[in-house]
Amino acid sequence: MGWFDKLRSKTAKSQENQLKQEIPPQKTSDLWKKCPGCGETILTKDLVRNLFLCIKCDYHMRMPVWDRVALLADDNSFVEFNQELKSADPLNFVDSKPYPQRIEEAIKKTDAFDAAMTGYVQIEGIKAILGVMNFEFMGGSMGSVVGEKLTDALERGASEKLPVVIVATSGGARMQEGILSLMQMAKTSAAVKKLNTAKVPFISILTDPTTGGVSASFASLGDFNIAEPNALICFAGPRVIEQTIRQKLPEGFQKAKFLLEHGMLDCIVHRRTLKKQVGKILHILNNGR
C-alpha cells in the first residue's frame, strides 16, 4: 500500500472515529455529520472531499490529523518521526477508568499512539518540519509523548536549520500525567526559544480548539501565528470563565477574529489557501536568512 493510499485509509478511519466522538449517540451514523456553524447535516464523504469545510456555510470543522497532513504536505513528502512513542502511566492514575485503558482505547480509536504526529515535510517545495496535533486522541491533550515529539521536532528544526510548522489543537494538559504534563509546557516553549536562537522560522497554526497548556506554550510563540476562521483559542475556556465571573460572554469571545483584533494573531487564513500562504511565508522568511 503506497503512502497516499495509507493516508487515505487512515483518513477514513480517523474520520469514522471523529464521528463517533462528536455526533450524539442517538445518531451514530458514520455517513452524516452536523455542521456546528449552520446546523446542516452533511454527508461525510462530501466533507472529506471538501476539506471538512461545511458545504453550506463554509464553517471550518475539525480536521483529522492525516487529512491535515495531506492538506499541507507536498505529495509523499511526509516522513514521520518517533512514530511508536507511547505514553507510560507515571502516576498510576485512575479516575473512572485507569489511564492505560484510556490510552489503549484512544490508540484503537485513532490508529495513532498519541495526540501529536511529527515529521519531515515539503510544503510548496520547501523542506520543513511539520507537527500536527490530533484532537481525536484524548482531546489533543499534551502529556509526555506530545511534549517529547514536538520538542524533538523543534530541536531538529534548530539543528538542521529547517523551518518548523506546527498545527495545534488541544483541550489542554493531559491531567492523567499530573505535573509531568505541566512541564511539557516549559519543555516545548524552551525548544521554541532554541529555534529562535538558531534563527529558524516557526509557524504556529492554531486550529479549533487550541486551549490551556498548549495555547500557553509553543502554540502562542510562532514567528507567525496563523489561525483558522472561527477557531476557539484561549487559556481558560469560556465555560470556566462564565462560572468565575458569573456573566454571559460576548459573542465571538476567544474566537480567531477576537484574537486577531487583540493582537495575538498575525493573520486568519482560510483552509483552502492555508498551504499556499504557509508556503509563501516560508519562502519569504527563508529567502532572508
Binding site: 509546557m185 519543555k187 532554541k194 487559556f235
Partner: protein, 325 residues
C-alpha cells in the same frame, strides 16, 4: 487570626488549654507548672504525628493557608531594608498579584519576583488572590531581563491558585504571556532559583518556575490542575476533590521522587504559617547554599543545563523498568 484547619484542631486545643492554665497559674492562685509541662510535652509529638501523615487534600489546605507567609513577607525577612520594589510591565498595568524588585541577600544583589496573595479579604481582593493577569507575567519578565542585564541572580517565589480565568486576562493574552515567560526563562543568562512556597497552581505557577534549581516547601503543592478542577472534569463531580488530590500526586515528596524538584525545604513544625521567620530562614539558607555554585557556572553552561533539566522531563512506555519512576 489564624484560620483553623480541622486536622490542626487537636493541637490548637492543647495550645489553648496550656494558655488557660498559664493564666490561672500566673494569677497566683494555684501552681500548675507541672500540668503545663505535661501538656506541653505532648504538643511536639502530636504535631509530628499529625503533620507527617497528612493526606494530599490536607496538604493542599495547608498550602493555601491564609496565614502562610507571602513573597513580600519572605523578602522582608530575607533582605530587610535592602530591597526596592519595582512595579509595572511598562505596557499596560501594574499587577498586584505578582511583585518584584531588587534586593540584597548576604551582600549579594539579586532580583526577586513572586506571586503575592493577600493576608485578609481586602488585601486578597487587591491581590486578586494571587492570580496574575498577563501584565503580571510581563512585569516578571521585564524584571528578569533587567536582572540578566545587570548580572543579578533571580529568585522566584511561587504561590498562586493559577492564572485568572477572566475576560481581561484572556483579551490581553495570558496564553502568550505565560508562554513567553517559559521560553525566555529557559535562556536567561543568570542563575534562577525557584521556591514553591504555597500553591503551585498550573501555568500561572510555572510562568515563574523555569529555573536552575526548583525547591519546594514540605507542605506546598505543585500541580497541573487544582484537585477541585480535576474532580469536576475527570470525575464529573467536584466533591471528588479528595480522590483527585490523591491521584494527582502533587505533594512535595511526590515531586521529588518524580525528579521535578531538587529539594524539599523543611517547614517549621506545624507549617510555615506558624513561624514565618523560621520559614524565611530556611529559604535564605538554601539560597546561600546553592547560589555560589550556580554563579560559578558560565552563562552558556548554565542555560544549557537549565534547558536539559526541563528537556528530560517526561515518561514513556517501556522505560519504567530501567528508570526508577
Amino acid at each position: 487570626m489564624a484560620l483553623e484547619l480541622d486536622f490542626e484542631k487537636p493541637i490548637i486545643e492543647i495550645e489553648k488549654r496550656i494558655k488557660d492554665l498559664k493564666a490561672i497559674s500566673d494569677a497566683g492562685h494555684v501552681d500548675l507548672t507541672e500540668e503545663i509541662a505535661l501538656l506541653s510535652s505532648k504538643i511536639e509529638p502530636l504535631k509530628k504525628e499529625i503533620y507527617s501523615n497528612l493526606e494530599p487534600w490536607q496538604v493542599a489546605r495547608l498550602a493555601r493557608h491564609i496565614d502562610r507567609p507571602s513573597t513580600l513577607e519572605y523578602v522582608k525577612h530575607i533582605c530587610g531594608d535592602d530591597f526596592v520594589e519595582m512595579h509595572g510591565d511598562r505596557l499596560f498595568r501594574d499587577d498586584p498579584a505578582i511583585v518584584g524588585g531588587i534586593g540584597v541577600i548576604d551582600g549579594r544583589s539579586v532580583m526577586i519576583v513572586g506571586h503575592q496573595k493577600g493576608c485578609d479579604t481586602q488585601s486578597n481582593i487587591y491581590r486578586n488572590f494571587g492570580m496574575p493577569h498577563p501584565e503580571g507575567y510581563r512585569k516578571a519578565l521585564r524584571l528578569m531581563r533587567l536582572a540578566e542585564q545587570f548580572n543579578m541572580p533571580i529568585i522566584t517565589f511561587i504561590d498562586t491558585p493559577g492564572a485568572f480565568p477572566g475576560i481581561g486576562a484572556e483579551e490581553r493574552g495570558q496564553s502568550e504571556a505565560i508562554a513567553k515567560n517559559l521560553a525566555e526563562m529557559s535562556a536567561i543568562r543568570v542563575p534562577i532559583m525557584c521556591f514553591i512556597t504555597g500553591e503551585g497552581g498550573s501555568g500561572g505557577a510555572l510562568a515563574l518556575g523555569v529555573g536552575d534549581k526548583v525547591f519546594m516547601f514540605e507542605f506546598s503543592i505543585y500541580s497541573v490542575i487544582s484537585a477541585e478542577g480535576c474532580a469536576a472534569i475527570l470525575w464529573n463531580d467536584p466533591n471528588k476533590a479528595k480522590e483527585a488530590a490523591s491521584a494527582l500526586k502533587f505533594k512535595s515528596t511526590d515531586l521529588l521522587k518524580a525528579g521535578i524538584i531538587d529539594e524539599i525545604l523543611t517547614e517549621p513544625v506545624g507549617g510555615a504559617h506558624r513561624d514565618h521567620k523560621t520559614a524565611a530562614e530556611e529559604i535564605k539558607k538554601c539560597i546561600l547554599k546553592y547560589l555560589p555554585s550556580l554563579i560559578a557556572v558560565s552563562a552558556d553552561n548554565l542555560i544549557e543545563e537549565r534547558y536539559n533539566k526541563f528537556r528530560r522531563i517526561g515518561k514513556f512506555a517501556g522505560e519504567e523498568e530501567q528508570e526508577n519512576g
